[in-house]
């Protein structure tokens, strides 16, 4: 069972005795609300995260702002989800981009 990496406070454990948790990110089809099936990989700033999630059955890399409301962390509007084809392009150019950033700053 993969529980680590998902840093939410209201975790599934709270309800899950034997009932199928709606947020089990191992399942590919439990994604009707495009919601939170995923792994928070990295916090890149105080309120921005990179996570890998399932969106409509596809894996996406999501870079997004989060905000807290009523004790919950919710994804904000500012952000982008990259499906695998775009992620691969990004990966292919990551060193170039990195150099450009260094040159520029």
């Amino acid at each position: 069972m993969w529980k680590k990496g998902w840093k939410r406070k209201n975790e599934v454990e709270a309800g899950g005795d034997g009932a199928a948790p709606s947020r089990k990110f191992a399942k590919k089809d439990s994604d009707d609300d495009g919601g939170d099936d995923g792994i928070v990989v990295c916090q890149i700033s105080k309120n921005r995260r990179v996570s890998v999630r399932l969106w409509q059955g596809k894996v996406v890399v999501d870079i997004r702002e989060f905000y807290v409301k009523d004790g919950k962390e919710l994804p904000g509007k500012k952000g982008i989800s990259l499906p695998m084809d775009q992620w691969k392009v990004m990966l292919d150019h990551i060193d170039e981009i990195d150099e450009a950033v260094k040159e520029n700053s």
Binding site: V52, V89, I94
Partner: protein, 79 residues
């Protein structure tokens, strides 16, 4: 496709037909923008769908690439 600015042309990477990664100088700060663009009057303009990362955020992101890849593999092959 014409870019708005010659400068941008040398510091842009297309991710898809509508999305780009661009490097910008905004008020003296370097920003790395990952964004969707839209067409208007024959020009490609940035939309509000996307995010602009500071240099620090970019570095944190780049350092997370191995972990991102590992997470992708987990979700892709989760049986």
């Amino acid at each position: 496709m014409r870019m708005r600015d010659e400068e941008e042309a040398s510091r842009a990477q297309r991710l898809s037909s509508k999305r780009r990664v661009t490097l910008q100088d905004f008020r003296g700060k370097t920003l790395l923008s990952i964004r969707e663009y839209y067409m208007k009057d024959g020009k490609e303009l940035p939309s509000s769908k996307g995010i602009s990362l500071t240099v620090e955020q970019w570095e944190a992101f780049r350092n997370a690439v191995p972990a991102i890849e590992a997470a992708i593999k987990k979700l892709e092959g989760s049986d």
